[in-house]
């Protein structure tokens, strides 16, 4: 049973990965932005699953919270706001469709060759001991609090920036 569970782990992992891949691929072919968004969301959720299976629960949580919860919601709003205006509807793909696809395959291959020929190092820690939330938090607040601070500066800057853009928007309205 434990064997099975272990295998179930792997199986789920593969399934999630496969689904994530399919969702990602779908993003390239779906016409409606909303559907693309949904595909992306599903991809993210599957990835969240993968993280969970890897034992990185907090990342999984953040993945769902920040990405799906914040970023994608924002995105979906934007789509809802803008999409009706997009009457063009015409071409889905740019003129560079085929070159792009060839490029895709080449790039993927180029990256993959890196892995294949040069396997990543074997897991160092015991397989059953992935670090948990507590260890991560400790590290984060002891070793990496600088980055925490810096992130806040960055968010501050982003807020100012976003405000500025919105102001421009407003100015545009008036002028």
């Amino acid at each position: 049973m434990t064997d099975f569970l272990a295998h179930l782990d792997t199986l789920l992992l593969w399934a999630f990965a496969g689904c994530a891949f399919v969702s990602a691929a779908l993003m390239l072919v779906l016409r409606q932005p909303m559907r693309v968004a949904i595909a992306l969301v599903s991809c993210m959720v599957f990835l969240g699953g993968v993280y969970g299976l890897l034992g990185l629960h907090f990342i999984a949580a953040f993945q769902v919270l920040i990405y799906v919860g914040a970023v994608m919601v924002f995105m979906v709003y934007a789509i809802m706001l803008l999409d009706p205006r997009d009457e063009s509807g015409g071409e889905k793909f740019s003129k560079l469709l085929w070159p792009g696809i060839i490029g895709l395959s080449l790039l993927a291959e180029a990256l993959a060759v890196g892995y294949w020929s040069d396997l990543p190092p074997a897991p160092r820690g015991a397989a059953g001991e992935p670090f948990d939330m507590i260890r991560f938090s400790q590290a984060f607040l002891s070793e990496y609090w600088l980055h925490f601070e810096l992130t806040s500066v960055l968010l501050l800057a982003a807020v100012v920036a976003a405000l500025a853009v919105i102001k421009e928007n407003r100015r545009h309205d008036h002028g």
Binding site: L13, W14, A17, F21, A24, M27, L28, P33, V36, L40, C43, M44, L47, V50, L54, L56, I59, Q63, I66, Y67, A70, V71, F74, M75, A78, I79, L82, D83, R85, E87, S88, E91, K92, F93, S94, L96, L97, G100, I101, L104, L107, A108, W116, P120, A122, P123, R124, F131, F136, A139, F140, H147, T151, L154, V159, A162, V165, E168, N169, H172
Partner: protein
């Protein structure tokens, strides 16, 4: 193929798919989403390595990427709004006035 390899390949694929999406899709919002996809690929790669090596730093970087991605989108969407105001279309090909 062991799972780490598989996940890394998946990460690479997501990255490549994202980049390709930026190249081949005309809709601006879709392009932005494809950018997110690239970052997701990166995240997956980092997370997997963090998992295999059991070190926290990769995970910390993933965390930072979340934040930055959110910030970028927060700026990108208003810019797109500005764009659309002008030409009323999301087709990026319409926005190629600067050239030469």
């Amino acid at each position: 193929m062991d799972k780490v390899m598989m996940l890394q390949v998946l990460a690479a694929s997501l990255f490549a798919l994202g980049l390709t999406g930026v190249i081949i899709r005309r809709n601006v919002l879709v392009m932005l989403m494809c950018m997110e996809l690239m970052l997701n690929g990166v995240n997956l790669s980092l997370a997997t390595f963090a998992h295999t090596m059991g070190s926290a730093v990769g995970a910390v970087l993933v965390f930072l990427i979340f934040v930055v991605a959110a910030a970028e989108i927060a700026i990108a969407i208003p810019i797109v709004l500005l764009l659309v105001r002008r030409k009323r279309t999301l087709d990026i090909e319409s926005y190629s006035d600067l050239k030469g």
